[in-house]
Symmetry: C2
Subunit: 413 residues, 2 copies
């Protein structure tokens, strides 16, 4: 790596250099790994199968009712070290990880993850939704938290390999319309208490049940964050899917829930810019004072928010299929604009968008004593635009519409 000589662009260029060095298929050269060391290589996957009769597949409601996440029969793990590069990936029975008490991840949050879903289509096929987007974002998050780089195409192949094995049993063809949640993660495992980039790491992928969260009765209710607590900031890491964005947000969320709200609407700065709804992106359909319909969401350019795959899909589909009906706008907008629009009766719909919550209609925003009530449509399950966008994406996920975003997995049966 060439060290940039300009003194004032220390780390930002570091990240760019690392990203440029890892997306071309030669996945190392990051975190000090020598270019000659093994890279992440899905073709080297070794397979150790679990006894298929050892566990039966629970029904969805039972699976999601406990305090533990129920995973499928297998997981994939790949270890990395600065001196040896990436090991051969292993597909093996799901089970615990062993870490030394001094492991980097347990102290310094050297961790990042992704979330995507696998869908059993109504056409019987097994699909992922835009897994390339998740794999590329995972690389960015991994480098941001000083963990080792890899070729995202190889990660995508590993995700597909896990679902090819566990899909037939855990997303059976008898359950069209069901999904599993896939969680790739990279953690720093070096047993070393010095505050430094981890010289050992583990990439692992699990697949599990997850409750459906896209239709809470009465819609999602948002409470704005307290003035003295913000989620992310300019110059921070709000755009990366690193653990450090999540733990610190729990305190505000916990108390909002005690007050009957589902998520925090995170505002930013003295202006009160609307950024994210909980750990999802946030959209409003409103009418401008001049009468024009807009679908508005926070922009990506200041790196405060996650570049959500669902967000991106909403923006792209709305621009393509609602052109003429409404304008899609990515810009900063404030909670005061929202309150004003509400007062003037210009708010049409709102929804949160993300992998976990999918497209979840928002019915209320509470901000310092004021309440914005948002129409939920005739059937009370979300407004027309929310429902329309949701069904478009859903149709791609479950194979009602053949679309390049729906990646069919060839199953081992």
């Amino acid at each position: 790596m060439t060290v940039p000589q300009s003194a004032d662009d220390l780390a930002s260029t570091a990240l760019e250099h690392k990203l440029n060095g890892t997306t071309n298929g030669h996945a190392n050269g990051t975190n000090g790994t020598k270019p000659s060391l093994p890279t992440l290589d899905a073709s080297k996957l070794t397979v150790t199968l679990a006894d298929p009769s050892a566990r039966t597949v629970p029904d969805e409601v039972t699976a999601c009712s406990g305090t533990e996440t129920i995973c499928t029969d297998h997981m994939i793990t790949v270890s990395w070290s600065l001196s040896k590069g990436w090991s051969n990936p292993e597909l093996k029975p799901y089970g615990p990880l062993t870490l030394m008490p001094t492991a980097s991840v347990l102290h310094y949050a050297t961790e990042c993850f992704e979330g995507l879903k696998a869908f059993r289509g109504f056409d019987g096929k097994l699909r992922l939704f835009r897994p390339d987007c998740n794999a590329r974002r995972m690389l960015m998050s991994t480098l941001r938290i000083s963990l080792p780089g890899f070729d995202p195409v190889e990660l995508e192949k590993l995700i597909i390999a896990l679902m090819a094995v566990d899909g037939p049993k855990w997303l059976p063809k008898s359950r069209p319309g069901s999904f599993l949640y896939i969680r790739p993660a990279v953690i720093g495992t070096q047993p070393q208490l010095g505050v430094q980039a981890a010289k050992e790491a583990l990439l692992f992928i699990t697949a599990s049940f997850m409750p459906r969260m896209d239709s809470p009765p009465g819609g999602m209710k948002l409470h704005t964050n307290p003035e003295d607590m913000v989620r992310a900031w300019v110059g921070g890491f709000g755009y990366a899917k690193v653990g450090a964005n999540y733990g610190p947000s729990l305190l505000a969320t916990q108390e909002a829930r005690e007050r009957g709200f589902g998520q925090i609407l995170w505002l930013y700065g003295p202006e009160g810019y609307c950024t994210e709804a909980g750990a999802s992106n946030f959209f409003i359909v409103w009418r401008r004072k001049e009468g024009q319909l807009q679908l508005i969401t926070a922009p990506l350019d200041d790196k405060l928010i996650l570049d959500g795959v669902t967000r991106r899909s909403v923006v792209e589909l709305a621009r393509e299929r609602l052109a003429g009906e409404l304008e899609v706008v990515e810009r900063k907008y404030t909670i005061d604009e929202v309150l004003e629009a509400d007062k003037e009766g210009r708010i049409v719909e709102a929804f949160a968008a993300g992998t976990a919550f999918f497209i979840c209609p928002v019915s209320q925003i509470h901000h310092r004593g004021a309440d914005v009530h948002i129409p939920m449509g005739k059937a009370n399950v979300g407004g027309d635009y929310t429902s329309k966008i949701k069904s478009w994406i859903s149709d791609i996920m479950y194979g009602n519409e053949q679309h390049p975003w729906g990646v069919v997995i060839e199953e081992k049966e």
Copy 2:
């Protein structure tokens, strides 16, 4: 817990309420734990000793030369769950932890820690330095990251119990002037991928070797952070010792090291306020334009920086013992003030202060092409004030001065 009814002080009051509810010795009522459940109780410690002949104690240099942190024979673990409260603490042989791949800490950085040292005094006694400060801060960090509360006095007792067992062997009387590093931590262990406060947790305490970092040849060299990367922000969690403050800082630190600098001097805001030096607090001795000597460091009130135990001790001792000679000032000051003072020849000394780096003289600050070179004293090991303060604290740690901050541990021999 009474839920505060004012809408705009959601989480800050939550933290205050939790802190008030846990420092009175009735340690629960936090994170939803029922008051009737068992609290953290050091008197219930169970002891399972390792074979003392299984491992020999390495010399300090060997112990610190590898890529792994060498821990002592034992560790203490205490598990917690929302339904059962705190389990009985266990002192047992040091060894790996087992976590499910879905454990909260591995994804959401539900983790916090402390760092303190045990010292083998020149009077033969084993001491801790102000462990009460660490235990109280650990409670604050634990609650900030939505992990379960406890009575900090019990944590202090557990730290003492571990050192009472491992101190005689690992800090032998034949090595006066040596120390071990003690690392208590709390992590969220619940195997659940939902973004929520963990309903299961583990508190663990290890003791290990750590390199001496207070005297790098030529002094510590600081590089200011890149403009687009900040460590902490107002409304964030820079004051808490949570993992989320560390991992994201590694990228900038890594690149600074490639340029020959030891740590980042973290500036804040467009004004460029000086906050922390790496993961240590930062002090400058300078002369005001009017000629008066000042020891200056960043203030605690905006919650950007850690309330360091070493920082606090420096401030208190300097106020007590250098009164009349210099004024101790905790206020915001900018990098431009530092550059100006340097240009006018008013910078006398500078040092980083923390448990890991102890009192470490700073010899250089690089900021956007400009270099501030700071006097290192006649012997090139730090200026007079730096050395004086360092020796005062060192004398308390190693028993050359009897002082309430040096807590003597009664050893099991």
